[in-house]
């Protein structure tokens, strides 16, 4: 068997790998002085490290905001929020409907008022027209009666009238 590679030496050192392979490596080390020396140097380094291996400390770690909300509370909150939302939607819908009805009523009243105004204006227009025709008739009458007389007299009479 060839000399062990660095990877193979490490596998043997930490006993990580296929057992058959590890046995082969072990057997080779016992036969090969170079590999054995190499291996023992690694073991020596590990021995030094054992000096500090047991030095372990546990820090004090404080987890802030660790309060967990209970699932029950979360569920209740969700239900309450849903209820509030639904109530708000229903109430706003009802108010909107009322508003629309009020708008309709106002529009209807406006129409009636407009109609009445139109009627009144038509009536007054008719009266004015009648008055005008009456005046015109009277004027014609006055003209026909006093036409042949002095023009000035006619004007005076007309204006008097």
């Amino acid at each position: 068997m060839n000399c062990l590679s660095r990877e193979q030496l490490l596998e043997l050192l930490y006993r990580e790998g296929d057992n058959n392979n590890l046995n082969l490596y072990k057997q080779h080390i016992l036969e090969c002085k170079d590999c054995l020396r190499d291996f023992l140097e690694l073991v020596e380094a590990r021995e030094y490290l054992k000096e500090i291996e047991k030095e372990k400390e546990n820090p004090v770690v404080i987890v802030l905001d660790k309060k967990k909300r209970s699932p029950w509370l979360t569920k209740a909150g969700l239900i309450a929020a849903t209820l509030i939302l639904v109530t708000t939607v229903i109430f706003s819908g009802y108010q909107m409907k009322r508003l629309q009805l009020a708008e309709k009523r106002i529009a209807y009243s406006n129409k009636i008022i407009e109609k009445k105004i139109e009627e009144v204006s038509l009536k007054s227009e008719k009266a004015a027209k009648d008055n005008y025709l009456l005046l015109l008739g009277l004027k014609n009458y006055v003209d026909s009666v006093v036409y042949r007389k002095n023009e000035n007299t006619r004007r005076v009479n007309y204006e008097r009238f």
Partner: protein, 164 residues
């Protein structure tokens, strides 16, 4: 799957802290980094897809944060033993064991950050080659080669310091 952040903190904060402390070398910075790690974990826990184990995922975040910190700070010079790892300055109180510890710490901090990290992960955190390869995102053989080089280098440094 839902994860309880508090239980994650309880279970892994010790491991992560010790890893970071061995990499950084002082308590204050280690605590700051650990805090950043957990902030990151809180933010990203929803994106954890369980392609690797939770432990591997947490160590990947811790490893990235630590290496980032070391790159930015570069505060430890080769001859300087990190503050938090110094033993008492009174020579009378030095036992042989504490001297050895100091020696190993000093030697560890002579290694490059990536070399020290592999040694810490394998020897002190107890990860397998596969786990380290997942955490670091490098092939298993690269992990082995890097660890081989680091251990050899570490031994050499220790012998040099011991030799005077």
């Amino acid at each position: 799957m839902d994860y309880d952040i508090e239980s994650i903190v309880k279970e892994y904060s010790g491991m992560l802290y010790n890893h970071i402390r061995r990499m950084v070398g002082n308590d204050e910075d280690s605590k700051d980094i650990l805090q950043e790690v957990f902030i990151n974990v809180f933010k990203k826990i929803d994106t954890f897809r369980e392609e690797s184990s939770l432990k591997t995922w947490l160590f990947r975040i811790a490893s990235n944060k630590t290496i980032d910190f070391l790159r930015k700070s570069k505060r430890f010079k080769a001859d300087e033993l990190p503050e938090g790892l110094k033993t008492t300055s009174n020579p009378l109180k030095h036992t042989e064991q504490s001297l050895k510890k100091e020696l190993v710490h000093r030697a560890l901090f002579h290694l490059r950050d990536d070399e020290r990290e592999i040694v810490v992960m394998k020897e002190l955190d107890g990860f397998t080659f596969r786990e380290i390869s997942e955490i670091k995102g490098i092939p298993e053989n690269t992990v082995k080669t890097r660890l081989y080089t680091s251990l050899k280098k570490l031994r050499k440094i220790i012998l040099e310091i011991e030799g005077g």
